[in-house]
Every structure is written in structure tokens, then in C-alpha cells.
Amino acid sequence: MINDKQLKQLVEAAIFSSEQPVTIDQLLTGVLAQYSLNKPRIRQVIDQLQNEYNEKGVNLVELASGYRFQTRPELGPALSQMWAERAPRYSAALMETLALIAWRQPITRGEIEAVRGVSVSTQIMKTLQERGWVKVVGHKEVPGRPALFATTKTFLDYFSIQSVADIPALAEPPESDTRERDNQEEIPSG
């Protein structure tokens, strides 16, 4: 025999420890197999649990495939912070392209490629524009009329830079750095 309290604990623990939603049938044939219990009894226990968890950080919900505990919907945005580091990071190539546009705007893709010594992928330009950081401000009057890219106000807001004029100063390479590189026989990539 199993008393009400034990039964509730067992159902609660079974649903919490399952990797998949759990049905009442699975409970009856699984953890509760040794007791003679019926569906209405289990449903009653689940009702009680749903009430108990109503105001909690996790709720007991019924899905098409069974019952499971899930976090309270309105906590989603705050909880997503926990996985923030999982969000993909921008590549060095994207950051350098963005830096170049900010510093040398308006600039064509070809000019960016000339400085970086490697081609700039279409995906990078697309990402920068989708993020709202970069936009086309015109076309250079040379053969092919390439687009001229510039940074947006959204970009400035994001980085809290007062004006575009502030940007180069932020990245002025230190003296030591220049000296050091003079001693190196470095060939630019590309």
C-alpha cells in the first residue's frame, strides 16, 4: 500500500526525473506498477500537483505526449540570461569589417577587402545590415558603382559612442605596438 503523500511524491519525482513527458499509463506501469492504482486516482494526484505548482517557478503542464514540468512562461527572458554565453559570437572577420566601416566610412566592400587582404563574405555584410549597425548610404561613382557602407545611429547607440569622430581615437594603437611590429618581418595575410 502507498499513502497519499508517498504517492504524490512518487508521481512528482517520476515526472521531474523523466527526460520526456510522462503519461498516466507510463506511471501506472512504471513506478507505480507494484501498487494497484487506477487512472482517476493518478489524475487526482496530478490535479493536486498542478495546483501546488501553480504559483511556483516551474509549472506542471499537460502536453499531447504527457505531463512535464516546465519553467513559468514569463520567466523566459530572465532565464535566457543563463544561456547567454551559448549565443553565437561574432567572428573576428565580422568585427574587423564593422570596425573598418566605422572608421573609414563611407567605404565599399572592395576597399574593405583591400585593407583586410581577404574577401568579405556576403553573410558578414548581411548580418551587419540585419543587426541594423550598417547601411548602404550611396554608391561610389566608379565602374560597377559599388555600394558605400556606413554605420547607423543604432550602432552608435549600441556602443554609446557620441559621434563617429570618437571612433578612431578608441583604437589608436599604442606606441610600443608600432615599435614592436617594426622589428618583425611580417607579411600581411592574403
Binding site: 544561456w83 574587423e96 594603437p173
Partner: protein, 282 residues
């Protein structure tokens, strides 16, 4: 696990009367070994159950109900050898480690049986000492392993209670955060590249036109027709472009390369003079 084995062994004690007689070191075993009342099937299970020769040795000592410190090396060695021989007789796969231990026991035994030299110095210790030390050390570890196994284990005695969340999906759709510092670092990298290029202007000027001529020819070796423009590297700056241009003119003058232009203002193609680039001529 070893407790189970012991139970198995003990329960067989009264029932098992006949054992296949084995051979120990080539000598037939006339008498049934003491404490060895284990049928082959059980022995096979035992061999699996023992985690190694130390485990087997400890088991034999415990069966004799003696302290490890009083290790009765003669009887233990005899029993151990009997087990090992029996395992061989039954053609059970015997780990080499069991034979290493057998050799060690035999050596200790022989040292014990040898008369002690009269000028025995104090440093000379009991031949069993090292084995006793190892057995005690191993016994502690084995006990530790046993206690560890008794600890509540995740997924055996308790389970991780988890709730699913939509927060992960929200996080995946959040674009990456970028700091001002990251942007500054990217800009610094770009500026270093630009500086390196400036630096190269000076170096390239020092380059001889002859060297560049070789480079251009080398470049042409694999390609029949090369777009004139591609021979220039923008990142070399103006001086680099000039050196390349001079090299191309010199190569042309010396008849080493051929410059082909289909029509005025169209692309110019460069090829090695030895190659027939007729198809490009208008």
C-alpha cells in the same frame, strides 16, 4: 561483488566433493587442495569477480582468518599457485598480472626458506614486508571503492530533477553581445594590418625588378592566360604596383611574356611567350 563470490564459494563447501585433480608445476596434485572447493563454473565467475591478483590474494588471506601482517606466505603461496594452475587447466584466459604475482610469491617463499646469512645487517627486512605493505595499501583502496559504491549514486539511487524551459530557445535567438572593447580590439587589428602594409611599401621599394620578374614568371607557369590586373597586389601599395609594372614591361621587352588585349579598354591577359595564346586574339 567479492562478497557474493565468497558466498558462492562457501555454499559449495559441503556439496562439492570431487574436483578435477590439477597439476602444480608439472607435479600431479594427489590430495585435494584445502580451501579449494570451487567448481569450474564458479571459478570462472570468480576470476571475473576478482579485480586482479591482489584481490585474489586478499581473499585467500581472509579465508584463513589471519591478519595481513602475519601473512602465512607458505600456505598462501600454495593456494595461490593452485588457483593459477587450475585456471590454466581449465584454459581460462589468465591475465599476465596473475603470473607476475605468482612469481613474486615464489621468490618471497624461496627467500624465506633460504638460511639467513650470518652477517645480516639491520637494513635487511622481512622478505614479506613489501608484499604486506602493498596488500594493506590495496585493501584500503578496495574498501574505499566499496564505500564509494555504497554512496548514493545519481541515476541509481537518486535522479536529477529537471524542468524544461523555453529560455534556451530565447537565448539562441538573441544576437551576440559585443562590447566596445571588442570593437576597439578589432579596429586595432585592422590598423596594425594597415601599418604593416605601410611598412611594406619601404621594403618593396628595396625589391629588385628582377626578383619581381621571377615572381611574375612563376605565377604564369601554371596558367595559360592570367588577367593582368591579378598580378598586382593592392596591399603592396603604390610602390609594389610600380615594381610589378616595371617587371612586366621588362619581361615583355625581353620577349619572355606576351600581353594580349582583345579590344581597346578590355581586359589585358598575360601569358608566357612560349605558350600559344592565339585563341584570345581578335
Amino acid at each position: 561483488m567479492n562478497d557474493n563470490v565468497e558466498l558462492t564459494a562457501d555454499s559449495e563447501l559441503g556439496e562439492q566433493q570431487s574436483l578435477p585433480l590439477g597439476f602444480v608445476r608439472g607435479e600431479p596434485v594427489i590430495e585435494r587442495p584445502e580451501d579449494l572447493y570451487i567448481p569450474p563454473e564458479a571459478l570462472e565467475i570468480m576470476l571475473d569477480a576478482f579485480s586482479g591478483p591482489m584481490d585474489l590474494l586478499l581473499y585467500l588471506i581472509r579465508r584463513q582468518k589471519v591478519d595481513i601482517l602475519d601473512l602465512p606466505i607458505l600456505s598462501i603461496t600454495k593456494q595461490y599457485m593452485e588457483y593459477v594452475e587450475l585456471m590454466r587447466e581449465l584454459k581460462l584466459e589468465l591475465a599476465a598480472d596473475y603470473l607476475v604475482m605468482a612469481a613474486m610469491l615464489a621468490e618471497i617463499k624461496s627467500r624465506l626458506l633460504l638460511p639467513k646469512p650470518p652477517s645480516e645487517d639491520d637494513e635487511e627486512e622481512d622478505p614479506r614486508a613489501e608484499l604486506i605493505r602493498r596488500l594493506r595499501e590495496y585493501e584500503v583502496i578496495r574498501e574505499g571503492a566499496h564505500q564509494l559504491d555504497q554512496q548514493p549514486q545519481l541515476e541509481r539511487d537518486f535522479f536529477f530533477a529537471a524542468a524544461t524551459t523555453d529560455a534556451k530557445d530565447l537565448a539562441a535567438h538573441t544576437p551576440p553581445e559585443v562590447s566596445m572593447e571588442e570593437l576597439s580590439l578589432a579596429l586595432a587589428r585592422v590598423m596594425r594590418v594597415v601599418q604593416a602594409q605601410t611598412h611594406h611599401h619601404i621594403k618593396r621599394e628595396a625589391l629588385s625588378t628582377r626578383e619581381r620578374m621571377s615572381a611574375v614568371l612563376e605565377r604564369l607557369a601554371d596558367n595559360e592566360n592570367v588577367d593582368f590586373i591579378t598580378l598586382f597586389k593592392v596591399e603592396e601599395g603604390k610602390p609594389g604596383v610600380v615594381v610589378t609594372f616595371l617587371a612586366i614591361l621588362e619581361l615583355n621587352k625581353e620577349g619572355l611574356i606576351k600581353l594580349v588585349q582583345a579590344e581597346p579598354y578590355s581586359d589585358i591577359y598575360v601569358s608566357r611567350a612560349s605558350e600559344q595564346a592565339t585563341e584570345l586574339e581578335a
